[in-house]
Amino acid sequence: MSRLELTLNGRPVSVDVPETRYLSEVLREDLGMTGTKVGCNEAECGICTVLVDGTPVNSCVYPAFKAHGASIETVEGLSAKGELHALQRAFLEHGATQCGICTPGMLMTAKALLDEHAASGEPLTEDGIRVALKDTYCRCTGYQAIARAILQAAGQDVAPYLPATAAAAQAIGRPAPNPNALAKITGAARFTDDYVFPGMLYGCTLRAGIPHARIRSIDSSAARALDGVHAVLTHEDVPGRNLHGLVTVDWPVLCGDKVRYVGDAVAIVAADSAETAAHALDLIEVDYEELPVVADPVSALDDDAPRVHEDRSEGNLLKHIKVRKGDVDAGFENAEVVIDRTYRTPTTEHLFLEPECSIGIPAGYNPADFGGRLDVDAERGETARHVKTTVYVGSQIPYADRDQVAASLGKAAGDVRIVATLTGGGFGGKEDIAGQVHAALLAEACGRPVKIRYSRQESLQVHPKRHATVIRMRTGAKKDGTLTAVHATLYGDGGAYASLSEKVLTRATTHASGPYDVPNVRVDCYATYTNNVPSGAFRGFGVTQSCFAVESNMDLLADALGLDPVELRRRNALRVGASTATGQVLRESTGLLECIDRVDAEMRGGDFRWSWNEGPRRFAWGIAVGYKNTGLGGGAPDKATAIVEAWEDAGRGRMAEVRISSAEMGQGLPGVLAACAAEELGTAAENISVLLGDTDVCPDGGPTTASRQSFVSGNAVRYAAEDCARQLDVTPDKLANARFEYEAPATQPLGTGGDMHVAFSYSAQAALCELDLRTGEVLVRKVVAAHDVGRALNPLTLEGQVEGGIVMGIGMALTEHYIQEDGQPWTTVLARYKTPSIEHAPAISSHIVEDPVAAGPFGAKGVGELPSIPVAPAITGAIRRATGIHVRSLPVDQDELLRALGDSVGELELAWGDREPIPVIGDDA
């Protein structure tokens, strides 16, 4: 221990800490100032940025004693005397904070920039912001709102960017900051890792490290004997079900006989410190017999392929998903042009900037037993007594967490409680179990709270990714462009465990003829097990992948027919009366044509050209459309239950508290639910407080997936609030109380015809790309987008979804690739995974189309996933127009693209991580 002296936010601080500390550790752990977040410990993401003597640094790799004697500024010091800093006010107003995990670092980076410009007197420019924020990542916003907020804070006249939407009602349609945004900009918002319970231990997980092996033996005796270790658990110590899984229960809590991917958990340790727990892992001896590896989804189905799950009679085939409509053979006979191409999309990583963290609390926990304070009135948090086994976690499905934790503990579901903390980004990557079960097991084994916090590097190799796919797409049309048939074959890499593969790839399959009226469709999708990292939910849920194939073929078709690509899409667009690939006849809310028209009009405004040259750079436009279902569909009951309590307040009018277990991960759900309640109660949204995700007091809102929460939870809240309003009309002096279970209109399973989904949302996007002919580098300069969302419930947070989704799609198109080779990830550190920074963010011009759906809350349907879907084919379409090269493999590799340019190759099917050409998919597949 040595004495470290700092001036922290203007106040002298003196603390005795080991010299081994990093600045972020001193702030968060020694001083309890958890406003500063840690995202990677690699100096890559920048969310840990603090100011040292006015200069932004990454506190995660800044030795604390390097800062000895220095002045440190953190987000907690940004607001002086209760007054928000101009940046904080602007971030609120512009919706520049979503999940909030990057916000402290973003604010501090921006503050240094503002201070610098204030000192020099030079005006701040958008370019200046791009330079300063280059290495401070935000995965939610798409950066545009942040840049505008900073300009406003610098005193420039920049208003929040809000596309035109229908006139606001009482609360619906009114742009408003997310209710939790204030806490996020002050550093007060608490994510799981920000909780420290008295007596808490730290858990670590022993990973397989090899993709496929039989376990001969596990010897943990040395680890158990290590000083400071409280428990070492292996498969023998799981009291209940040693498996978890959301659809198929096939994922071992702790592997006993076999490991099937590098991230498989073999043992877990709880110790006094994370260091000791990690040291204990090194002492556990596991004897493996390595097995041959299943490395890709196509060869996985070979007769002689090794079996990932030996007990399955279907071998590595996880699911064969079929869509049949009309007579596809006749459709092709009737076609005058057929486009037949095979495409490949990569495994990609969500890169939510908050790595997974869970804290397990044992049943009967009393903080006073560990020297803490007990507050008998506290319902949750460090001072509360915990009657049940409890897990604090920022996950997307609190009730599924509860059920899975209970099953593994051998307890009834009602004996386990999940307290949802804020989620620092999810995007589908926090639906499966991460550390929840392990933390609960260790907590019960030790009788103490146990925190399991994944490092970024552990997160990269453990949680499910976006499915890599190989897709053969055959598209037939008449000379006038009318589509006659689509025949698609998809292979999806499910990885080692089922996760949501069946659902994700069903969505890829049912959307594989695009948002078009196609009379004859045949789609076969093979979801396979491999020894890769599992694949699961990821914004777009399979549709991102099939849309790339659909739209790429549409561009080729337009060329082959000599048709304008916009006109071709317009001609075939789904509209009322048309039917989807699964035979669902659309009766309402089909705003695709309007989306196309709006985007086309803006793109062609001025002196429009499809492409042009500027020195060594070539510019070109590309356009694509997409659609996405709202809700679970497919016959699954899609329910949410909300509780609303409302009362009359003499001064403020009607007030209410809403409770529902649905996850807020930055998408703005609390604001949407508050608006739904406020509208029915006839009050201001600010008068509604929303409590999400404590399974003991909040009823089940269902999974936060499938763009469903605004629709399903929104309706549940709306109807509960309507009930309360009626009660208050009659007895205004009494507390109104209503519980409403909303069930979305019934849907039909795939293959039975009828309505498979309650609604679809539509998008058209045009991307203006710049290609550097010297390097092959591609930048997206502008995206013009239109989204049919039914009704804009909160235009500010809606626009955040649109912009963030588009930039995420740009990542998939141009940079992101989670590389695995023979089951071993190459993407082991964040430095090897390039996600878009502000430098890659285009100008976005956004149009909102509101074609209402009758059953939606105030006409709304889902939007969370849609903006990510058509981005990649719009970009590759632009590249084709610029170069003549048809890119069939993502991400667009500048090395390969430049080579293709030099060799005058017309089509590009290699991506660097996949040195093998795209596999050939036979006619009979």
């Binding site: 690699e42 940079t815 090897r832």
Partner: protein
């Protein structure tokens, strides 16, 4: 898990730094900003040290100064300060440019040029820029101080003649570009795959009264285990007048000398060659036009 170090020292003088290193007798290690070393340490790529000796707090070595015909950069000077410094921007443009592409602002605010040189990565951008300026490094050890050409400090990837357990790289210096001189730097990244730099290149040229190149230094990396001073290209252009053809020939001379392998998930040999073929002439041209502008 063992900590990467037990003690962290930030000495105020060179003597104190050397005393600490002597005290730890091989188990102490000098760092500058530590922006490479600490990240690598967090990844477990370095053996644990008993002590870290942070050289950025040494008094008098936090400055950029002009003396004896040199621009001198102390070992405490960060990349950010180099980028902004008017003398370096005017008389060491390739260094300002090369330091400007390192990491992001937060890394440049901490990382130092001295650390970049001593860390001896095959394509440290600041190092490539300094090499083209024929930079020299002052090394302090128990035996005294010595100046060595930066180009002579590299032993292998991450390995330098400067013994970071015994010696301190205290200062760097180069002769500022003057009349008829110019320099330039460029780097190409490939964000796909492993997201690594493909090539970083820098050049310094001087023109004589007739407009012929009478002095040239060209540096680049990664083309081998250590940053490379491209003598064949330099020889080829000496005495000649700048022209696109000449600079294209210089690129050919470089490509004739180095063997660029296809490096998995980083770049193909073809792409790496193409980048040199494109960008070496480009920076030579930029350096030449700056030289003309400095007449």
């Amino acid at each position: 898990m063992t900590h990467a170090w037990q003690h962290y020292h930030r000495p105020r003088s060179i003597d104190d730094a050397l005393d600490l290193l002597a005290h730890y007798d091989g188990n102490g290690r000098v760092i500058g900003g530590g922006t490479d070393f600490l990240v690598e340490t967090r990844r477990g790529l370095h053996r644990p040290q008993e002590a870290i000796v942070d050289a950025t707090g040494i008094e008098g070595l936090g400055e950029i100064a002009q003396s004896d015909g040199f621009l001198t950069i102390g070992c405490g000077v960060t990349h950010s300060r180099i980028i902004r410094h008017p003398l370096i921007r005017a008389h060491g443009a390739c260094l300002a440019e090369s330091c400007g592409v390192i990491g992001g602002p937060q890394v440049r605010n901490v990382g130092t040029l001295a650390g970049n040189v001593a860390h001896a990565l095959p394509a440290g951008d600041g190092t490539i820029g300094l090499l083209a300026l024929d930079g020299e490094a002052e090394v302090a050890s128990a035996e005294g101080t010595r100046w060595v050409p930066v180009r002579d400090t590299f032993v292998g990837p991450g390995r330098s003649v400067i013994d970071r357990h015994q010696e301190v790289l205290t200062r760097l210096r180069f002769r500022p570009t003057g009349d008829n001189e110019g320099s330039a730097h460029h780097r190409v990244m490939r964000p796909q795959g492993l997201c690594l730099p493909i090539v970083s290149l820098a050049a310094r040229l001087r023109l004589d009264a007739d407009g012929r190149i009478d002095s040239a230094t060209v540096s680049l990396g990664p083309v081998g285990p250590v940053p490379w001073v491209a003598e064949p290209a330099m020889q080829l252009i000496l005495g000649e007048s700048p022209s696109p053809e000449l600079f294209a020939a210089a690129a050919d001379a470089v490509l004739g000398e180095v063997s660029l392998r296809t490096s998995k998930y980083r770049a193909t040999s073809g792409y790496r060659q193409q980048m040199i073929r494109t960008w070496l002439p480009a920076i030579l041209g930029r350096a030449a036009s700056r030289a003309e502008g400095a007449r």
